[in-house]
């Protein structure tokens, strides 16, 4: 079921007394229930503009965004809040609020003018906290939470709004790798098990390609949509991130920094040691080529180059 749709949407800015700046146009997007979609794209491609427009926080330059079938611009903000919630990159300083009180703010669109929580509201808050596995954090002041814990609480807060759609703007930006994987797991579960439609923007290509049901790749005003693997195979990734001194390697699905070329070198050996030796040589600007006359030989504990032996790759790369 389509939770969020756009009809020939044009996104961009309309600066005061100047012509509109179009980021991307004629977008027909669909966010289905049970889907986790990652929005990727280079800096400045307009990911945030798209997110804000989809959330109804910024008016489109053309076309419209439909939330559960209704034009988002025509819905009262309270109704929007019951159908769509957001998690932003900015770190919030919620003052002397406990994590529990912060999640309870997610009930805002449902409570009366004084903001009183009913027993049903409290149950929903508690379920939201449990859904992200944050029960041990409930009593803690938000100001004392780590970035990862805080992000979990912000996701729980978004859940407490009981939305059909959750939009997350770089939710993993400040997190270390294990925390990023954990957040992604939580989001996948929320999408697949609870049937929510989740869209998140990220710079983490690897994680996005391993977790997302589909990728929206925004670059140069064009939005490419597809399974992660399709976008690799049809060259969309390579095109999106072309230039800027990096190249996309479709074999590994990662980026290579284009270094000054220092010639070809061969790596003799196999297994993990050979792989990482090749990586080290590439990093310092060599092209690894089995037919090259220069050779680095991998021994069980050392490396041999020319007539010398080296104890470590740091040692080796320094003397090359």
């Amino acid at each position: 079921m389509a939770m969020l749709q756009t009809d020939t949407l044009t996104i961009g800015y309309r600066p005061h007394r100047r012509p509109a700046h179009i980021v991307s146009e004629k977008l027909d997007l669909t966010l289905e229930a049970g889907q986790l979609i990652c929005l990727l794209g280079p800096n400045g491609a307009g990911k945030s503009t798209l997110m804000r427009t989809l959330a109804g926080m910024q008016p489109p330059l053309g076309g419209r965004v439909r939330l559960g079938g209704d034009d988002i611009a025509s819905l009262p903000s309270r109704t929007v809040a019951k159908r769509l919630s957001i998690v932003l990159t900015e770190r919030i300083d919620a003052g002397l609020l406990s994590a529990y009180a912060l999640v309870a703010l997610g009930r805002y669109p449902y409570t009366d003018w004084r903001g009183r929580l009913t027993a049903a509201d409290e149950t929903i808050v508690q379920n939201a906290i449990d859904a992200v596995g944050a029960r041990p954090l409930a009593h803690r002041p938000v100001s004392q939470l780590s970035d990862g814990e805080r992000q979990k609480i912000m996701i729980a807060r978004a859940l407490a709004q009981q939305p059909d759609v959750i939009l997350l703007d770089e939710p993993t930006a400040y997190l270390d790798l294990p925390r990023r994987v954990e957040i992604m797991q939580i989001l996948r579960r929320l999408a697949h098990d609870d049937g929510r439609a989740i869209l998140l923007s990220t710079h983490d290509l690897h994680l996005a390609m391993r977790s997302a049901d589909a990728i929206w790749l925004l670059a140069n005003g064009k939005l490419h949509i597809g399974a992660p693997e399709d976008l690799v195979l049809n060259g969309a990734f390579a095109a999106a991130f072309a230039g800027e001194g990096v190249t996309f390697d479709p074999m590994s699905g990662s980026f290579h920094v284009a270094h000054a070329h220092r010639g070809s070198i061969a790596v003799v050996g196999d297994g993990v040691r050979a792989v990482w030796t090749a990586r080290a040589l590439e990093r310092v600007g060599f092209q690894v080529d089995a037919a090259a006359p220069l050779r680095v030989i991998c021994h069980p504990t050392t490396w041999e180059y020319g007539t010398a032996e080296y104890r470590s790759l740091a040692h080796l790369t320094k003397h090359l």
Binding site: G95, L96, L97, L105, G115
Partner: protein, 358 residues
């Protein structure tokens, strides 16, 4: 996994803290009664009760002192403390700034400009026409201060929906500089006794408000306080910042308007009648957050009203120097008493940012 231990975890409770509120209500009653019985003449507690219930006290003059002077004064102090503190709370949360207070938008600058224009610029000839400083000293000053703060209030409202919060704050600051420049020019050319009258106004006082004026002040303050009560829920959403607040369904424009109207009305009305009373508005919200250990405005609004009233009554009591005929400037007392208290609270908390959500 460890669901069994989780089952025993109690969820936090988000209720008011009724005991602390009751304690504050008790403190308010105590300071209110003290401010009726203490002063240049100390009146026994029993006689205060007798007078308030319409009986005959031991001395007839006591009745006049209580009903004509101390009761309106104490009521004014309660209103002023509550009003300034709530205004400060709203400004701190709206602008996400712990230094914000009732006067950041230039309300007191507007009022002082109004008063300065009336008190200082009236030529000696016109001053003769106005007969006495007694006239200027009360109704004229209240009128001038009201007009001055109303002018700023309207200007803020007109500008508010076009600019963001930071711009509004800077505009308020600039307006303050401009008015103090005009006031210094007026002071430079004014005659000594007018300067003294102006300076006296800047000291602040709860004493000048009559029963007749209270008939205006009470409804205005109660009206603005009830708007503030309505703003508790929006203020909670604003703790998360405007983007999140909007995503929760808050109509930012309406909420901001509501908050600015009530905060400015509170600050403006009190400044008009009592002069620019500093410190209470900035300090009390911090005291309240610290006492209740929360940023939840459903707790902070009633808490701040009570603490504000208690602080204002206490400051006025100290300024009276009970038992003596000397009266200290109220503004000096609020700052002298308040600064160390707030410093202590902030140092104890170690993290001001965390305490208000900025």
């Amino acid at each position: 996994m460890n669901t069994t231990t989780n089952e025993h975890t109690h969820w936090p409770r988000l209720a008011l803290r009724p005991y602390r509120l009751l304690l504050l209500i008790g403190l308010l009653l105590l300071t209110f009664t003290l401010s009726l019985s203490l002063g240049s003449v100390n009146i026994p507690f029993a006689d205060v009760i007798t007078i308030l219930t319409g009986g005959e006290p031991a001395k007839a003059t006591w009745s006049v002192i209580i009903l004509k002077i101390r009761l309106p004064r104490a009521i004014t102090a309660v209103l002023a403390g509550a009003a300034l503190a709530i205004s400060g709370l709203q400004m701190q949360t709206l602008f996400r700034n712990p230094l914000a207070g009732p006067f950041v938008l230039g309300i007191s600058s507007g009022a002082s400009l109004g008063v300065a224009l009336v008190v200082l610029s009236v030529s000696t000839a016109a001053g003769g026409l106005l007969a006495s400083l007694g006239f200027l000293g009360n109704i004229g000053i209240v009128l001038a201060a009201t007009l001055g703060s109303a002018f700023v209030l309207i200007a803020v409202m007109l500008v508010a929906h076009r600019v963001n919060n930071m711009t509004l704050l800077i505009l308020g600051l600039l307006f303050g500089y401009a008015t103090s420049a005009i006031v210094s020019i007026l002071l430079y050319f004014a005659i000594a006794e007018r300067i003294q009258a102006y300076i006296a106004w800047t000291f602040g006082s709860f004493g000048g408000v009559t029963w007749g004026q209270l008939q205006v002040l009470i409804p205005v303050i109660l009206f603005a306080l009830s708007i503030a009560w309505l703003s508790a829920k929006p203020l909670n959403a604003l703790l998360l910042g405007e983007a999140y607040a909007r995503s929760l369904g808050l109509t930012i424009r309406r909420a901001r308007w509501l908050i600015l109207v009530s905060a400015s009305m509170l600050a403006g009305a009190i400044t008009a009648y009592c002069g620019p009373i500093g410190f209470v508005g900035v300090a009390v919200p911090h005291l309240c957050r610290s006492l209740f250990n929360t940023s939840d405005h459903r707790v902070l609004v009633p808490g701040t009203i009570l603490i504000g009233s208690v602080v204002a009554l206490t400051a006025d009591l100290v300024a009276q120097l009970p038992g003596s005929d000397t009266v200290l400037p109220l503004n000096a007392v609020t700052s002298l008493l308040g600064a160390p208290i707030v410093a202590w609270v902030i140092l104890r908390q170690r993290n001001l940012r965390a305490s208000f959500g900025g």
